[in-house]
């Protein structure tokens, strides 16, 4: 029987979706407001860490496997580097922001000097934000989960 008291559990399960949607909001609005892939990912990972501490690591491990987290993280990283490589394919160089100015999805350029901009701007930046966000969520939560689980199975090895 691990985890914390009932009150903490209830409040955690109420706040967890809020934290998650807020983290995703921060990720999606990285190019308009402070934030971005890394910050939003850290927020969501912190929310997962909150679930870990209030419900106990056994409960979490029975739902999330660290192998799956590792694969998710790999996927995020691959997406990121592929976006960069697409810059080499469409534009001319690695890491070229090939979407900007195309007026397609994400390709709109805001008027200079104003704050009136939509989520629909920024070229590949929002996509990269999501890739990095996925990676950071999986990575940071993976670290905390593995360490927490290892700290409880003390003395199992040897």
């Amino acid at each position: 029987m691990s985890g914390m008291s009932k009150i903490v559990k209830t409040i955690s399960s109420i706040t967890f979706p809020l934290i998650t949607i807020y983290g995703l909001y921060v990720i999606a609005h990285g190019h308009l407001t402070p934030g971005g892939g890394f910050q939003g990912g850290a927020i969501v990972a912190s929310g997962c860490a909150m679930m870990l501490v209030s419900y106990g690591s056994i409960w979490i491990v029975s739902r999330v496997k660290e192998k799956n987290l590792s694969i998710l993280e790999s996927l995020g990283a691959v997406c990121f580097i592929l976006l960069a490589l697409l810059g080499l394919g469409f534009g001319a160089v690695f890491f070229n922001n090939f979407l900007v100015g195309t007026n397609s999805l994400f390709g709109v350029v805001p008027a200079a000097g104003s704050g009136l901009a939509d989520i629909n701007t920024g070229g590949v930046i929002p996509l990269m934000n999501f890739a990095v966000g996925l990676k950071v969520i999986a990575g940071l939560f993976g670290i905390v989960l593995v360490m927490a689980h290892a700290s409880r199975t003390k003395g199992e090895k040897k």
């Binding site: 407001t33 402070p34 805001p110 000097g113 360490m147 290892a150 700290s151 090895k157 040897k158």
Partner: protein, 114 residues
């Protein structure tokens, strides 16, 4: 005007961290010292990019002004991530060392070879 107090604080943070690494015997204390050095360097980068009376380097609909320098902030973001990664690795190694030696005293682990 304020005698570069933030810069002196940066120096103080780095020195406190170094002090922890050199004089403290507990491994976790040393790790904490390293995070302090890390924080000091981060603060230094941000302080370098600050301009008096500036606003954050984000275009919003509020009236603009001169902006703080954006590059140090980007560098600090990278540096923070690196700090977390290193911290996690160091602490997991510390856990393993504790399992092997049963102590965290830096003088009791290791010792000269043969």
């Amino acid at each position: 005007m304020i005698f570069n107090i933030p810069f002196i604080a940066v120096a103080a943070l780095i020195l406190i961290g170094l002090y922890a690494v050199i004089f403290k015997r507990n491994l976790i204390k040393m790790v904490i010292g390293i995070t302090l050095i890390e924080s000091g360097v981060n603060l230094f980068l941000i302080t370098l990019g600050y301009r008096e009376g500036s606003i954050a380097p984000i275009y919003t609909s509020s009236p603009g002004g001169i902006m703080a320098l954006p590059v140090p902030q980007a560098l600090t973001l990278t540096s923070i991530v690196i700090g977390v990664a290193v911290l996690a690795l160091m602490l997991s190694l510390v856990i393993h060392i504790y399992r092997h030696y049963g102590t965290l005293d830096v003088r009791k682990i290791g010792g000269p070879e043969e």
